[in-house]
Point group: C2
Chain length 350, copies 2
């Protein structure tokens, strides 16, 4: 019962050759209807299952794609992976998950391992530490589709799917301006990363458009966790003139800012409006829900998968697709100065 059934077993049983069996199973037109049906029936009877590994060796296609992220248990990444998986599974691909822990060495090793495992594609978000790109070039040399999502490396000929971080930063800041705020602080992540630079640029552009002078004192660069939010808030509290709004490039930092401000008796959003970034699940569970910029993560995964599929379909054509998804500002309680309850009810809880 447990031995594996191969096409040779079917062939032996029917006193024909494995080639005929293979052809019958693959609906090859040069097979007679009679034998085809017989083979199909026998295959079902014997509970034959095609051995994908043998197929992979013969065809050079493993039907596996590698997905590399810093950590899989971060909502942002796991949602992207969900999108990728849901798009690729119906097409017969399996998703192999790997984590880099933000270490370049692990990233390099992982890519080489995936290449040895003959994956048909690599979809990834570059680790923060990564500075070199030979490992990416090794993927390209083998003509294996490489698609970056969210964080990409500067590399010609590689497709990427990102959100328009500039737009996200712009929208968030514009919204704060629309709320009547004019002293808007910005807490950004490591500006070596493109995503944080872009959000920062969007912030500045919105200020400029509104004729608000850019004030360097209002910009604080930190890590993207809650503690850094506490730190940032304290820095802001030292200023002569307190800002009346904060746009943070991270939800966790936004939370830290809110916590620290509350400790100091500052009312959110009455005294200071706050907008975060990423639409982390907790932002809508808070008593005071936090406005945030949604990065349409599932969609990002789906699109990355589709870009990959396009590339395997047209192996000859060198596609360099740069898809930029539009982020979605979700206005919640932390950034809306309301005067009456009617308005409050309109605040999105999504």
């Amino acid at each position: 019962m447990n031995e594996k059934i191969t096409i040779y077993d079917i062939a032996k049983r029917l006193k024909i050759t494995a080639a005929t069996v293979s052809r019958a199973l693959n609906n090859n037109p040069k097979i007679s209807e009679a034998t085809r049906l017989l083979v199909l029936k026998t295959a079902k009877e014997m509970n034959y299952k095609q051995n994908k590994v043998a197929l992979a060796l013969k065809s050079g296609k493993s039907n596996n794609v590698g997905v590399i992220v810093p950590y899989i248990n971060r909502n942002f990444f796991s949602s992207i992976i969900r999108g990728i998986e849901e798009e690729l599974y119906p097409k017969g691909y399996h998703v192999i998950i790997c984590q880099t822990h933000e270490e370049e060495q692990k990233e390099i090793k992982t890519i080489d391992n995936l290449l040895n495992a003959q994956v048909d594609g690599v979809l990834m978000s570059v680790s923060k530490q990564t500075t070199t790109s030979e490992h990416f070039e090794r993927v390209l040399e083998k003509h294996i589709p490489l698609v970056f999502f969210d964080r990409r490396a500067q590399l010609k000929g590689v497709s990427s799917v990102t959100i328009d971080d500039y737009q996200g930063g712009f929208d968030a800041t514009k919204h704060l301006i629309d709320q009547g705020c004019s002293r808007i602080a910005h807490i950004c992540g490591d500006l070596k990363l493109e995503i944080y630079r872009d959000r920062f640029e969007g912030y500045k552009a919105a200020l400029k458009q509104a004729g608000i002078a850019y004030n360097e004192d209002y910009v604080i660069q930190t890590k993207s966790d809650t503690e850094s939010g506490h730190f940032a808030a304290q820095e802001l509290l030292k200023l002569d003139k307190l800002p009346d709004a904060v746009f943070s490039s991270s939800d966790h930092t936004a939370l830290g800012v809110i916590q620290k401000f509350k400790e100091h008796g500052i009312k959110i959003p009455k005294d200071i409006c706050v907008v975060g970034f990423s639409n982390e699940p907790f932002t809508k569970f808070m008593e005071l829900t936090i406005s945030s910029v949604d990065q349409c993560t599932m969609e990002m995964g789906r699109v990355a998968a589709r870009v990959f599929l396009e590339q395997v379909k047209n192996p000859k054509i060198k596609i360099e697709k740069k898809v930029e998804l539009t982020p979605q500002l979700l206005v919640r309680e932390s950034s809306v100065k309301v005067n009456d309850t009617t308005k409050k009810l309109r605040v999105s809880k999504g």
Copy 2:
């Protein structure tokens, strides 16, 4: 540059046979030191990389394990997967991720697909809908290690890693009793699932131990989301005597309960103490942090991976290992009746 180098290429270059090359690369003792070094050197020069697919076909081992969960973008599951990945990657295994969306049909299809792909093991959490178990038996027939985590099927000869849900329920309830509560409500998930039954039993045991009569009116069975928490709270509000504590089998439901109670002017934890289950990230981000039972997810993944490794190491021995991890009650603000600030500071924020 991009053609794949095989052992035949190395053999041709050195005018020896592929067999010798293979032996040299595998440190086979019957190879002369001279040829071995020569082969190793040449392999490096030619940038040879072993083709894992060919190896998989020959050996019958793919070095891939399938991990099946309902949804990967749930903190609980993605953390387990992280644990699994981190344990298996160093041992040369790749983790293939699949989602069932809680559908039995998808689960069946996924398992069959993984078997065709010749995975060396299947680690999974059973979908809520699943009632049959032929698909699990198909895995066992092929002598492929099957390990359940968290949610398991009733099946002989299969290992599982769970937490002691009974203990978790007991600890949570005991803690509420220790806070002076005696009218303790319980909001549970679908009692067809073992995990919810066990938590419920733990709850009842703690009551019994404290000599508190079990009151059916205080038990509400719902789904595990925030809205169900609203519903449950409303049901409790209808009672003649309001409970003075709530132990919820889900953090999301606990959150809903808290929200609804607050709407009705009930103070948490002064009037009613609340403890949730799962230690979802948001529980510690709230203004009012929520006490919860941590399920040591990363550890669960690691242990599941180790159980799998043990089974591949001893293929002959039929191991049926039932590992039960001990959950950890995290006492936070939602369940501690404090009188002075000193005590409040001791409340865990972990």
